[in-house]
């Protein structure tokens, strides 16, 4: 997943939010109910739970929480969460979120994407949303494979890995989504695993609380396709493997790969948010709230 190209200094003195986990009964209020189509052993459900725990820990108004997702296994989160949800087209979630955030800066937008959704078909939107520092949180469920369509190779499938479209081993090099987002200008970049659940909650909460474009990569397991075709591990075995392979960023040494990858807050910086920069543009254009007499003083309306 990574090599010496990754430049990660130790995280700065950025203070992470305090988080707490909630009981299933407390969390259930934010679930719509009904059947999930995620396979047994899939860790998407754990990441979903982590997202609700993160939102509740931050004590933000649930009415203002909007989850905008793309297409694929991860995108189905919009059916399960009892927030305002938008299930967009494949790859377009970040572009839709950009419009929604600029039109109403009060929205707390979490954009949920799979790895193919985010880094292949939606890769262009990822780098540009990061470049603009649009104040949304990109939560990427990375299972290294296209699950919804039945197990094809994607942009994060490791070289030589097998899939339904790489029966002789993947001939392509994988993207590291965190490196990609960091290079494109994301001002908060983190990676977590369902195995280290509480840390994952904190990394997601930190991303939502962050003022600017935050990227949180949640390593997710697909035992149905990825595991079956590669590691031969079952769901529990894949979760256990996360423990072996995920190394806290402070201790991670680039180049000592062997399937290991750094987790934690990988990058953090402050830079004006696009909504704030654009508010200045409005001032320079001569706009004063309420001046046009339409009675609506909210920006963007």
């Amino acid at each position: 997943m990574t090599d010496e190209r990754l430049i990660v200094g130790p995280p700065d003195d950025h203070e992470m939010p305090t988080v707490k986990t909630h009981t299933t009964a407390e969390l259930r209020r934010y679930l719509r109910g009904g059947k999930s189509l995620w396979c047994p052993g899939c860790t998407n459900g754990i990441v979903t739970r982590a997202l609700i725990d993160a939102v509740l820990s931050l004590e933000i108004d649930p009415e203002k929480v909007v989850v905008i997702a793309g297409i694929g296994c991860a995108g189905r989160i919009t059916s399960y969460l009892e927030f305002s949800t938008v299930h967009t087209a494949h790859g377009r979630a970040l572009a839709v979120a950009t419009g929604a955030k600029l039109a109403d800066p009060e929205l707390q937008i979490v954009v949920v994407m799979g790895d193919g959704d985010c880094a292949a078909i939606g890769g262009n939107h990822l780098i540009h949303a990061a470049r603009r520092n649009v104040d949304v949180t990109a939560l990427v469920f990375n299972n290294s494979i296209y699950g919804m369509t039945g197990g094809q190779a994607g942009p994060t499938t490791r070289e030589s890995d097998r899939s339904k479209t790489s029966p002789f081993g993947n001939p392509e090099t994988a993207f590291d989504i965190c490196e990609l987002a960091w290079a494109a200008g994301s001002t908060y970049v983190a990676r977590g695993t369902p195995y280290a659940y509480r840390k994952l909650v904190q990394l997601i909460a930190g991303g939502i609380a962050h003022q600017g474009f935050s990227t949180v990569e949640a390593v997710s397991d697909c035992p149905t396709y990825y595991g079956r075709m590669n590691t031969k591990l079952d769901a529990a075995g894949m979760l256990a493997a996360q423990k072996e392979q995920a190394v806290r960023v402070e201790r991670f040494e680039p180049g000592t790969d062997g399937g290991r990858y750094p987790v934690g807050l990988l990058h953090h910086t402050e830079r004006p948010r696009f909504v704030d920069v654009y508010a200045e543009v409005r001032k320079r254009a001569g706009w004063r709230p309420g001046a046009d007499g339409d009675g609506d003083e909210r920006e963007g309306r």
């Binding site: 305002s84 949800t85 299930h87 087209a89 419009g99 039109a103 920006e299």
Partner: protein, 385 residues
């Protein structure tokens, strides 16, 4: 009160129309010959408290427009052929999810990069059927700078009323042409505003009721829990319901009927000197300007010719064509494509009158002289019938 008379470009008129309609969000990507709309709105939007954003491509542009509209803001994008092609998937998304928005397509020669600076009308069928799957759409065709302004306002009104994307089909000539116009002010025009549902948030269903002939669309972040998906969805909960043929069939029917059932309120057609006409010219957009000149010449010479000009191209004004077919013996359809609308006219005429098509795809305008030749033939042959 109308604004003072001044020289305005077609693309500028579209931008001003959007501001007048209350649009406060524009997302776009530079493309000839629509770019002036983006340029104008990059200055106008922030000045009225709105947002202009230049996105990374046209797919992102229409996606951002949909996002802004879901957040409660009237929004538009403007593009031309290649960009319009890129937007098709998300236009379908907006029809499925019932998101009001306006897409301006300043048509240029195609296919592909084609003739970037020359006018064409080659996108009229793409406007109707460009996105995949069964759907309905509203498309308006201005034929003057004044209409570039007023029809942009109408496009927003229809988008809000029917909770649907509306396409404004301009072209390279109209977009770049300047005319002296006195544009009406906001208070002289009907402006349809976004409405919230009038039911308790707890009882809210996605399709909802009609309020003053407008379909409500609650905004993201409002007390109405919004659940939007491009999958076939249950009209009450908004949740995916792909396993139910009944729900899928009903939704498909609803999305069509909410437009077609009201086509009388949507469709606008101008009859020009049709009284006693034996031959009608069926022309739209910039071609209608040439056709109008021909009708004037012909009438001065005592030749009974009129023009029927669709202002709404989709839904197709079948009733107007029906009426025309009962009156005239020949319908001439000049257009800057090869028979796209002539086929549609032929289907609606149903053999009751002769349909003469005339197309150009060389990037040149259809001249009044060209149309006059077609008219002359109709009267010449008629004499020897």
């Amino acid at each position: 009160m109308a604004q003072p008379r001044r020289l305005v470009q077609g693309n500028e008129a579209v931008a001003e129309g959007a501001i007048t309609a209350g649009a406060r969000f524009f997302a776009g990507y530079p493309i000839t010959p629509s770019t002036e709309i983006a340029e104008a709105l990059s200055a106008r939007m922030p000045a009225v408290g709105g947002t202009f954003i230049q996105m990374e491509d046209e797919i992102a542009s229409i996606a951002a427009v949909i996002g802004a509209s879901l957040a409660g803001t009237k929004a538009l994008t403007a593009t031309s052929g290649p960009g319009f092609s890129l937007m098709q998937e998300m236009i379908g998304y907006a029809t499925m999810t019932q998101v009001p928005c306006v897409i301006v397509d300043v048509m240029r020669g195609g296919p592909s990069t084609g003739l970037p600076t020359e006018p064409a009308q080659g996108d009229v069928m793409q406007a109707r059927w460009g996105t995949h799957g069964e759907h309905s759409i509203i498309a308006l065709v201005p034929s003057s700078v004044h209409e570039c302004y007023t029809l942009t306002v109408d496009a927003f009104n229809l988008a809000e009323q029917f909770r649907t994307p509306v396409i404004l089909l301009s072209d390279a000539m109209l977009g770049h042409m300047r005319e002296a116009v006195a544009l009406p002010d906001r208070d002289e025009l009907r402006i349809a505003e976004r409405v919230d549902p009038d039911i308790d948030p707890a009882d809210y269903d996605t399709v909802g009721s009609t309020i003053d002939n407008i379909l409500p669309r609650p905004a993201l972040g409002s007390p109405y829990r919004v659940h939007v998906t491009g999958l076939v969805y249950d009209p009450i909960s908004g949740a995916p319901a792909t396993a139910s043929p009944r729900v899928a069939g009903d939704l498909g029917g609803y999305l069509r009927e909410k437009i077609y059932h009201h086509h009388g309120a949507i469709t606008r057609v101008e009859d020009f000197m049709m009284e006693g006409a034996e031959v009608a010219i069926f022309a739209y957009g910039s071609v209608a300007r040439a056709a109008r000149a021909v009708v004037r010449w012909a009438r001065q010479a005592g030749v009974p010719v009129g023009m029927v000009r669709p202002i709404t191209l989709w839904p197709f004004p079948v009733e107007a064509v029906d009426h025309m077919a009962e009156q005239v013996r020949t319908v001439i359809v000049p257009e800057m494509n090869l028979k796209q609308i002539a086929w549609e006219v032929q289907a609606a005429v149903g053999g009751r009158a002769k349909v003469v098509d005339h197309g150009r795809v060389d990037g040149q305008l259809i001249t009044p002289q060209e149309i006059a030749e077609l008219v002359k033939k109709e009267f010449y042959y008629h004499r020897f019938d």
